[in-house]
Subunit: 354 residues, 2 copies
């Protein structure tokens, strides 16, 4: 398993994803500015991973603070928190992590400054460990649906590189492999940004799992030839009714699964489920820059005058999903909304593996 | 309409497709070696187009022959024919064109040499004109299924660049436009070789048809959002039962069409229908070099150690096809096999447009 970020010898160590897969470079961040730089320059990506990085950046910054009182300490830590928030202003996980740190400080305002500094390191590591635990739990529940000898298709990158641990869609693959099941993975290259080709294939090779790369439009032919047993993808956001927003192309794979009676699974940490949004039609679909499609490695591929539609993700309706893998268990789409109810016995909703 | 090849002022003029869409260069071939070079170097591509080119190459070569007798003439033309056959040894259209020329010569062996030379030019132009007529007829029958305001998805390149005239899948688009219907086209980029991005979008822009480029995996999201009214693709080979071999990704589009109740049409000149092959499972699927997927513009995208499956085409079963557009009319898949029977009234099988 690749460690995309960790705390080691008083430093925040992050893998520079921007150079993958051609170069594997770890950056040892010795101060908060290096961490902020890494988030800004996309050396580290993925919602959970950048939340962890921000927490580590604040912990690093705190160590250099010279303060005698709590007020002095918070006055100096505030610009560091602001710097982290400004790296990726729309990243929910960064503001979630900073909020958690601010609450921690307030709850410990009576303690000596040195103790606060220790607490911040402890909290950053705790955020990382919690993420690792969530990944592992998703992996354990999901692995029950993988048999020895299975071939699993995945799309885009919902792997270790985006999280602190086993990733989300990749976690069941890693756990199944740890359990001794011999599996292989088909990775869709994921145009236009090629996360499948560059990242997923790389991290599965690191984990010793055989991986085969295809162009995205090859999935149908492989399913028709009975070369795929199941599909596991991640999700950017899943709504209360079980509709799944994920990387463009996910919906097409779901339709192909329906046509070929292949189960389509979604690995979804509870943090990715938006219980406040009723259904997927309400999710605004972001359009990304045409250059991602028209230009490859600085070479323009297409003629002037052509329009481009470059959707960043699509929405797969709940009825295409066989099961969600969360850290609390595997659930039917119709049961997702029940997970927020206090009166529900979660165990009774859990799906059994095959 | 782009003229990918034509005979002009005693020369064979071909468009150098290898530089498209960044550079539009026409090459004036003054002798048969230039034509052979052009076929070999993929300046000209597409089954009908290279058949026409080979015929023009032979006609050019014949003009330089100094011979007093038919035997002397054929002795000198034979190496020219062999040279054309050796440019792309598996290209059916080249051997079809050379066979036709050899029969023509044999049938006219009593004529003077100068007349034979003229006949070869005439025959090359006839092959081109017949192809243009086939394209136009496909376009006329197909255009009946296109309404004013329609948005049509196509895949890969089955356009003018591959034929002498309007192309196959593009012919209905061009004819519909000539008829005054305002249409727009969505072109799938067609990984790995990007024929949709490089060629189809370019030639539709030349024809003044608005074209929007998408990554192949975006088709599903657009269909779900009701942004596509119909699909027209070409075919490399269609079997007697109506199964369609075409560029990888075609089958996925057909499945998406079924799911969204969108008609899926195949433009198929009768020359592409293999009446000797019963069904699509019998077609051997060529695998192409992994480099097409792993390397883009000389840049390796993927890590060492990853396998690649790079299928050149897939097979779409007949039941996904709403109608075939041929030069004889539009037909249901189940009627394709009847087109070879002498006792059938073809008109009675023709489908009416919408």
């Amino acid at each position: 398993m690749v460690k995309t970020i960790e705390w080691r010898d008083g430093k925040g160590v992050m893998l520079d994803q921007s150079r993958l897969p051609l170069e594997v470079r770890f950056i040892e961040c010795t101060d908060c500015h290096m961490v902020a730089d890494g988030i800004k320059k996309l050396w580290i990506k993925g919602a959970p991973a950048i939340g962890i990085a921000a927490a580590m950046g604040i912990a690093l910054g705190a160590q250099d603070i010279k303060a005698e009182s709590f007020d002095e300490f918070t006055k100096q830590i505030e610009p560091i928190i602001k710097m982290m928030l400004s790296t990726r202003p729309t990243a929910v996980n960064i503001s979630w992590a900073t909020g958690r740190i601010e609450r921690l400080l307030l709850a410990n305002k009576e303690r000596p400054i040195d103790r606060l500094k220790e607490l911040l390191i402890y909290e950053a590591n705790k955020i990382l460990e919690e993420d690792i635990e969530v990944n592992k739990a998703i992996g354990r529940w999901g692995s029950e649906f993988i048999k020895d000898g299975d071939t699993i298709l995945t799309h885009c990158n919902a792997g270790s590189l985006a999280t602190g641990g086993h990733g989300t869609a990749t976690a069941p693959l890693l756990i199944a492999t740890e359990q001794g099941k011999r599996i292989q993975v088909i990775a869709g290259e994921t145009r236009p940004v090629l996360q499948g080709a560059r990242l997923t294939s790389w991290e599965l090779i690191q984990a010793g799992i055989p991986v085969t790369l295809i162009t995205d439009s090859t999935a149908g032919a492989l399913m028709k030839n009975e070369m795929i047993d199941l599909v596991i993808v991640g999700t950017d956001r899943t709504t209360k009714n079980g509709d799944v927003a994920n990387k463009i192309g996910t919906y097409t794979i779901a339709v192909l699964c329906k046509e070929h009676n292949i189960p389509f699974y979604v690995a979804a940490p509870l943090s990715s489920i938006d219980f406040g949004m009723h259904s997927g039609d309400l999710i605004p679909i972001e359009e990304r820059h045409p250059d991602e499609v028209t230009t490859i490695w600085g070479h323009r591929v297409v003629p002037e005058g052509v329009n481009v539609i470059n959707l960043s993700f699509d929405v797969t309706p709940a009825n295409y999903v066989a099961s969600f893998f969360t850290e609390k268990g595997a659930f039917r789409p119709m049961d997702i909304k029940k997970l927020m109810r206090a009166d529900i016995d979660i165990e009774s909703l859990r799906l059994k593996g095959i």
